[in-house]
């Protein structure tokens, strides 16, 4: 069978497809395939792809975090924990993993560890404070962290509301005193009694 493609053209085509092929089968390809399966709702396939990506140094960290999330969302907290822990060690700035670790720790009754993790999560992304407090409104340390994060974000009205809740629930303990001081600071800056702001 004769071919209309010249030898030099054929060589270029082979080189091009080899390069593309190399890209397709690179470790990032496993992550991409895993994500694709995850968005389709095919968790088994996603887990398989992430596990493949775990074998490569360049993708192991992301794979661990994605795999941890996958198990977490499936409700398998035992399996999720080691992946989230190892991923978070390498990537301490990923708030979601911190939040998920806090949930896992809390479910095991490790309140101190949960508190540390959720405060780290709130520091990275204050929105996790809101989510956490919806679930655990009695966690005053998290509420105090949340209020501080809101204050730093330039939302003094919202922060004041949270400080007030910490004070109301604390009856003059250390956290209530801290909240009271922070509230005074807000009021001295604004010069008026801060009214509560409702988040939308």
């Amino acid at each position: 069978m004769s071919s209309s493609v010249r030898p030099s053209g054929r060589l270029i085509l082979v080189a091009l497809f080899s390069l593309l092929g190399a890209g397709c089968f690179g470790p990032e390809s496993y992550l991409a395939q895993g994500n694709s399966a995850y968005f389709r709702g095919d968790t088994a396939e996603a887990a398989q792809q992430y596990r493949r990506a775990l074998d490569f140094e360049s993708t192991a960290n992301t794979a661990a975090l994605n795999l941890g999330r996958l198990y977490f969302e499936a409700g398998d907290l035992e399996k999720a924990e080691p992946y989230l822990r190892s991923g978070s060690n390498e990537r301490p700035d990923f708030a979601l993993a911190r939040y998920q670790l806090a949930v896992i720790d809390r479910s095991r009754g490790e309140l101190e560890s949960a508190s540390t993790e959720i405060r780290k999560a709130i520091l990275l992304d204050p929105d996790f404070g809101r989510i956490w407090l919806q679930e655990f409104p009695e966690d005053r340390r998290a509420r105090l962290s949340y209020a501080r994060a809101l204050h730093r974000l330039g939302r003094p009205e919202l922060a004041a509301g949270e400080y007030r809740k910490v004070m109301a629930e604390g009856q003059g303990d250390v956290m209530a005193v801290q909240a009271s001081r922070a509230l005074e600071k807000i009021q001295s800056v604004t010069g008026t009694e801060v009214s509560e702001e409702h988040d939308i």
């Binding site: 890209g23 991409a32 694709s36 389709r40 709702g41 994605n66 999330r69 992304d125």
Partner: protein, 482 residues
């Protein structure tokens, strides 16, 4: 000059035919949602649209559909547009048909600007410049009968405006891309390919290439958008052909990876009018010319059209006014508006409003200055009297569990555009109207199980680097209150 920059009459005719067909398709595509999008019974009644401040402050657009937005009138006008599009395709009373299409199209645009995408704007612009070109002289019912088209070309300011219009789409898409994803990290394409509702299954596969290849493709896109159009401006037909082929190839690629509605198709047909005469001398060119000539002669005979005295040449008045002076004025104004917008010049509001009224106000800021790192999809979570929870957009049971992508069929692209625009405007009255429309539709079809509450939710998620799954941040865009 004419040899280098003149537009072949046959290529212009191909542009007219393909543009006419796209117009037909465009109107047919709009037809199923005619009542929803353009009438008093839809998501945006004219009285409310005109009373809403903020869509474009201080701007009162014109539209035939402001006369009345009753369904029968809108339907009639659409039918008129459809007939105009068919007449344009066939080259029957080309000038009248072309301007009729333009009036209907711009009226639709002004009537519901929330539905528009880049493809709509480009289609209108091409139609506008095309109407100043002699694109109905060959392969048309208006063409002189029994005359075989020859390699004659047309040179005018209207032609240059059309040529530069094509270049502007790419140059002014590339220039505002100053964000780090385009200029530093080169991960723009990686982020684009994570935009839900925009990416095809093939596009998802492109992510498998990995970040390095995607960075190379990001860089290539920028180079293409800046350099490609310059090829169209060279006097050498081989380079012009290369420019045309690269534009067609680029958009064919886009069709494969992204769901952009008619935009890439319009970009492809836009360059048809630039085919150099040499293309018509090739075997394929001669074959096409023969077929089209025969088809149009047969059609003219079938319709027993009386021969027209029209020739390929313009009358002096046509040449001066229609081909040069008038389009020249609009071209300068349009260019000034576009360049001024890009470089932040203080432009007269009157001029901008005039450009908007003429449909010449253009911006090509796609994924600029940077690609949005928030992606997601819309749902309308509704609860019925019987307690059933459903998504009013799809009409099926509300999806439970984790984040799942939802892709819409091609015909529903306009609804996607509409949702995207609602998110941009963050307008409570508009969202409420949208919800009210969806609820009314459901209640009409299910009188025994009416909706008691509905919430429009944007399932946003952060696109993270390195294939890390970003967190979800569902946002409530609006609620339906009975």
């Amino acid at each position: 000059m004419r040899e280098a920059y003149g537009l072949d009459f046959r290529s212009l005719a191909i542009l007219r035919i393909s543009l006419g067909l796209v117009l037909v398709f465009n109107l047919l595509q709009r037809a199923p949602d005619l009542v929803a999008h353009y009438t008093s019974e839809g998501v945006l009644p004219a009285s409310i649209e005109l009373s809403l401040a903020g869509l474009e402050p201080g701007f009162r657009p014109w539209s035939l559909f402001y006369l009345t937005d009753s369904p029968w009138f809108v339907g009639l006008a659409m039918l008129l547009g459809l007939m105009g599009s068919l007449a344009l395709t066939l080259g029957y009373r080309t000038v009248v048909a072309g301007w009729l299409c333009w009036i209907i199209l711009i009226s639709l645009h002004h009537r519901n600007p929330l539905l528009l995408n880049s493809g709509d704007i480009y289609l209108l612009l091409l139609l506008f410049w095309g109407n100043f070109l002699p694109w109905g002289r060959v392969f048309a019912l208006d063409a002189p009968p029994h005359e075989t088209p020859t390699a004659k070309s047309h040179l005018s300011i209207a032609g240059l405006a059309y040529l530069f219009q094509i270049c502007y789409v790419y140059w002014f898409a590339a220039l505002p891309r100053t964000g780090p994803s385009w200029q530093v990290s080169q991960d723009a394409l990686y982020k684009v390919l994570h935009q839900d509702g925009l990416i095809t299954r093939v596009g998802e596969r492109f992510l498998y290439l990995g970040q390095d290849w995607l960075a190379f493709l990001t860089w290539s896109t920028m180079v293409f958008e800046i350099v490609g159009p310059f090829l169209l401006l060279t006097p050498f037909y081989q380079l012009r052909l290369l420019g045309i082929a690269s534009i067609i190839g680029f958009h064919a690629g886009l069709i494969l990876v992204m769901q952009l509605g008619l935009f890439p198709w319009i970009c492809i047909l836009a360059v048809f009018g630039l085919w150099p005469s040499q293309v018509w001398a090739t075997l394929a060119g001669r074959w096409l010319q023969e077929r089209l000539t025969t088809a149009f002669h047969s059609l003219a005979n079938l319709l027993s059209r009386a021969p027209r005295k029209r020739t390929l040449e313009d009358s002096p008045a046509e040449r001066v006014l229609l081909r040069n002076l008038v389009p020249g004025f609009f071209f300068l104004l349009s260019t000034y508006g576009l360049v001024g917008d890009q470089f932040g010049w203080d432009q007269s509001q009157r001029m901008l409003h005039f450009l908007r009224q003429a449909g010449l106000h253009q911006k090509w800021r796609m994924f600029s200055p940077d690609v949005n790192v928030i992606s997601g999809w819309d749902s309308v979570e509704a609860v019925t009297e019987s307690g059933q929870v459903l998504d009013l957009i799809t009409g099926s049971a509300y999806p439970q569990g984790g984040y799942q992508r939802r892709s819409l069929p091609f015909v529903e692209r306009r609804w996607t555009e509409y949702s995207a625009t609602l998110r941009r405007y963050r307008s409570e009255p508009l969202t409420e109207l949208y919800l009210r429309y969806l609820v009314t539709q459901w209640d009409r079809n299910n009188p025994d199980n009416k909706i008691v509450q509905a919430t429009h939710i944007w399932h946003a998620r952060v696109v993270r680097e390195d294939f890390l799954l970003g967190q979800e941040m569902p946002q409530i865009l609006g609620r339906y209150r009975p």
